[in-house]
C-alpha cells in the first residue's frame, strides 16, 4: 500500500513536469501546425541559461529562472520570425527547420559547456516524510509552478486579445487573417510563449535531475507521447494526458521495472490511438 501511494505521488510529480513540456509543444502544434523538434533544445537551453546566471553572474535562483524564460522565449521569437515564418505552411519544411535548430543548439551547448553534467543544485532540498511515504520539497515547488503556469497560459489564451487572436488563427487561418489578425505578429509570440515554457521547465527541472548537453533528447519523445495521448492541439488534453503519462510511467516502472514500464506506456498509447484516434480530447487533424 505504501508503495502504491508512493507511486501515485511520483506519478503526479512526473505529470507536472510533463505537462509544462507538453503545453508548449501542443501550443506550437495547435496554432502554427508545426511539430517542433527543437522543443528539447529549448529545455536544455533554459537549464544552461539558469545555470550560467547562478554560477557566473551570481544571480539568485528565482531570478535565474526568469532570465531563462525570457532568453528561451526571445530565441524562439527570433527563430519563428526570421526562419520558420517563411515556410510556416509547409509542415515538412518546418519539421526539418526545427530539427536543424535542435542539432545546432545541442552542438553549441556541447562545445561551450563540455559533455559533463553541471553542478547545478535546486535551492530547496529534502523531503517531507510521513512514515514510509515521502514527498520531495522540490517536486512540490515544480507542481506549484506548473499549476501556476497552466493557469497563466489559460488566462493569456482565454482572457486576452492575444489569446483570442491565436485561437482564431488556429481555428481558421484564412478567415482570421481576413479579420485583420496578423500571423507575422502573433505566430512569433505564440512560439516564444511555448519555447519560454520549455525554458522554464528546463530551468526548474534540470537542477533537480541533471544538466548535460543530451538531456533534451527524451523531452521530445515524452512530449510526443503526451500530446498524442491528449489529442493534438488541445491544451486541456495535453495537461490531462501529462498526468496520465506520469502516473502510468510511475506505476508501470514501480511494478514492472524500467524497461517493461516504458513498453507498457507505449503500448497503452498505441491502443488508445487505435480505439480513439483523436486522443483523449483531440480535434480533427491537419495534414502532416
Amino acid at each position: 500500500m505504501d508503495q502504491f501511494i508512493q507511486a501515485a505521488i511520483i506519478g503526479v510529480s512526473l505529470g507536472a513536469q510533463y505537462a509544462l513540456l507538453a503545453l508548449g509543444f501542443t501550443l506550437i502544434f495547435g496554432i502554427l501546425g508545426v511539430v517542433n523538434f527543437s522543443h528539447g533544445g529549448f529545455y536544455m537551453l533554459g537549464g544552461y541559461v539558469a545555470y550560467s546566471c547562478v554560477a557566473f553572474l551570481g544571480l539568485p535562483y528565482p531570478l535565474a529562472v526568469l532570465v531563462a524564460v525570457v532568453a528561451t522565449g526571445a530565441l524562439g521569437w527570433v527563430f519563428e520570425l526570421f526562419l520558420l515564418e517563411r515556410l510556416v505552411d509547409d509542415h515538412l519544411a518546418t519539421l526539418m527547420l526545427t530539427l536543424g535548430l535542435y542539432l545546432v543548439v545541442s552542438t553549441g551547448l556541447l562545445t561551450v559547456f563540455g559533455p559533463l553534467s553541471m553542478e547545478f543544485a535546486f535551492p530547496v532540498t529534502g523531503a517531507l516524510h510521513m512514515g514510509p511515504i515521502y514527498v520531495p520539497r522540490e517536486n512540490l515547488i515544480v507542481l506549484v509552478v506548473c499549476l501556476a503556469a497552466i493557469a497563466a497560459l489559460w488566462l493569456v489564451l482565454f482572457r486576452t486579445d492575444l489569446g483570442r487572436g491565436l485561437r482564431a488563427l488556429a481555428d481558421d487561418r484564412a478567415v482570421a487573417m481576413a479579420q485583420g489578425l496578423r500571423p507575422k505578429l502573433l505566430f512569433p509570440l505564440a512560439f516564444a510563449i511555448a519555447t519560454g515554457l520549455a525554458g522554464l521547465t528546463g530551468a526548474l527541472v534540470t537542477p533537480i535531475l541533471s544538466l548535460s548537453p543530451n538531456v533534451g533528447d527524451p523531452v521530445l519523445a515524452t512530449s510526443f507521447l503526451t500530446v498524442i495521448l491528449g489529442g493534438l492541439g488541445s491544451l486541456e488534453g495535453a495537461a490531462l494526458a501529462a498526468f496520465v503519462v506520469g502516473i502510468v510511467e510511475a506505476f508501470s516502472s514501480v511494478y514492472f521495472g524500467g524497461s517493461i514500464g516504458a513498453l507498457v506506456l507505449f503500448v497503452l498509447v498505441l491502443l488508445l490511438l487505435v480505439f480513439r484516434p483523436t486522443g483523449l480530447m483531440g480535434r480533427p487533424v491537419r495534414g502532416a
Partner: protein
C-alpha cells in the same frame, strides 16, 4: 489512358544507382565503397519514407520495419540459410506481412497522429528487441552474420558487398517506381484530398494499405542491406532516431519525384561522412546544412534543379 510502368525520373534514378557497379572498376578507395554502401542502404530506407509521403503520410516507422527485415536475415543466417534470392524475398515479405495487421491499426490515423504513432511504433520495436534476447540477441544483437551466397558462392569481398547493396537499392527503386507510377493518380488523389478522393469513389484504404505494406517491405530490404554491410544486426542500427535521417534524406532531396530520395540520400550521406571527422561539431554542421538547404532550396534538391531548369529553358 495508358499507364506507364516507369517514367524518365525512375530511369534516371536507376542509372544513378547503377554507378555502384561502375565505380568499383575505377577505384578501390574504402571510403568510396563505404559512402556508396551507406548511401545504398539510405536510398532504400528513404524510398520507403517517400512511398508514404506520396499519400501525404509521414512515417517514422522505417527503422522498425528495417529491424524486422534485418533480423529476419540475421536469424536465418544462424540456421545457415544465406541464399541471396531467398533472403531478399524474406527481407521484403516478412516486414510486409507484419505491416498488414499493423496497417489495419495505424492507417485509421491521419496527419500528425500518424506521424506520432509511427514514432511510437519504432520505440516499441527497440524495446521488443531488448526484451527478446533469445531471438534477437537482446541488447547485444547478433554479430558475425554469415555473408550472403549467390548461387552458392559467398559474397565476402568489399566489392561484392557493395555490388549486392547496389543491386538491392536498384531493386527497391524498381519496386517503388512501379508502385508509384502504376497508382500515380490514386496516390495523387489521396495526397491532394483524401476525403474528396473517397467521396469520388476511390477505395482509399485499399491503396493506403498497399502503400504501407510495400513501404514496409522496402524498409525491410534496407535493413537487410544494412545487416549485410555490417555483418551484424544490432539494435543501435535501428534506433528510432534514425527515422529522422531517412525523412531528412527524402525532404532535402525533394518529395516531387523518386529522384528526391536518391539525390537527398547521396548528398546527406556524403555530408555525414565529411562532417564525421569534425568530431563533436559533426551534428551541428549537419544541422546547419539542413537549415540552409530547407531555407535556400524550396522543394529540396530536385525542386531546385527543376526550378533552375525552367528558368534556363
Amino acid at each position: 489512358m495508358r499507364i506507364k510502368l516507369l517514367g524518365w525520373t525512375e530511369i534516371v534514378a536507376l542509372l544513378l544507382l547503377s554507378c555502384g557497379f561502375i565505380v568499383p572498376m575505377f577505384t578501390r578507395s574504402v571510403l568510396v565503397y563505404s559512402v556508396l554502401n551507406q548511401a545504398f542502404v539510405g536510398v532504400i530506407a528513404a524510398e520507403s519514407v517517400w512511398i508514404m509521403l506520396r499519400m501525404n503520410l509521414l512515417s517514422f516507422a522505417t527503422p522498425a520495419f528495417m529491424a524486422i527485415g534485418g533480423y529476419t536475415v540475421a536469424i536465418a543466417g544462424q540456421y545457415d540459410i544465406t541464399d541471396a534470392f531467398l533472403m531478399t524475398a524474406a527481407a521484403f515479405l516478412v516486414p510486409a506481412l507484419v505491416a498488414v495487421p499493423l496497417g489495419a491499426l495505424v492507417l485509421r490515423l491521419r496527419g500528425t497522429y500518424f506521424v506520432l504513432v509511427t514514432f511510437v511504433l519504432s520505440q516499441i520495436m527497440q524495446l521488443l528487441i531488448f526484451e527478446t534476447p533469445g531471438l534477437t540477441g537482446g541488447s547485444n544483437g547478433i554479430s558475425g552474420v554469415a555473408p550472403v551466397t549467390l548461387f552458392g558462392a559467398e559474397m565476402g569481398t568489399n566489392r561484392l558487398v557493395l555490388e549486392y547493396a547496389c543491386g538491392l537499392a536498384m531493386g527497391a527503386t524498381l519496386i517503388t517506381g512501379v508502385l508509384t507510377r502504376y497508382f500515380r493518380q490514386h496516390f495523387a488523389a489521396i495526397e491532394e484530398n483524401e476525403i474528396l478522393a473517397e467521396s469520388l469513389g476511390l477505395v482509399v484504404w485499399r491503396y493506403k494499405a498497399l502503400g504501407f505494406v510495400v513501404a514496409a517491405g522496402v524498409a525491410g530490404l534496407a535493413g537487410y542491406s544494412l545487416v549485410n554491410m555490417l555483418l551484424t544486426a544490432h539494435p543501435s542500427s535501428f534506433d528510432s532516431a534514425t527515422a529522422v535521417d531517412f525523412i531528412a534524406y527524402t525532404i532535402i532531396g525533394g518529395r516531387l519525384s523518386i529522384l528526391g530520395p536518391v539525390l537527398g540520400t547521396g548528398a546527406l550521406v556524403y555530408a555525414t561522412n565529411l562532417f564525421g571527422t569534425h568530431g563533436q561539431y559533426a551534428q551541428g554542421l549537419y544541422g546547419v546544412l539542413i537549415l540552409v538547404v530547407v531555407l535556400a532550396a524550396r522543394g529540396g534538391i530536385v525542386g531546385t534543379i527543376a526550378a533552375l531548369w525552367r528558368r534556363v529553358s
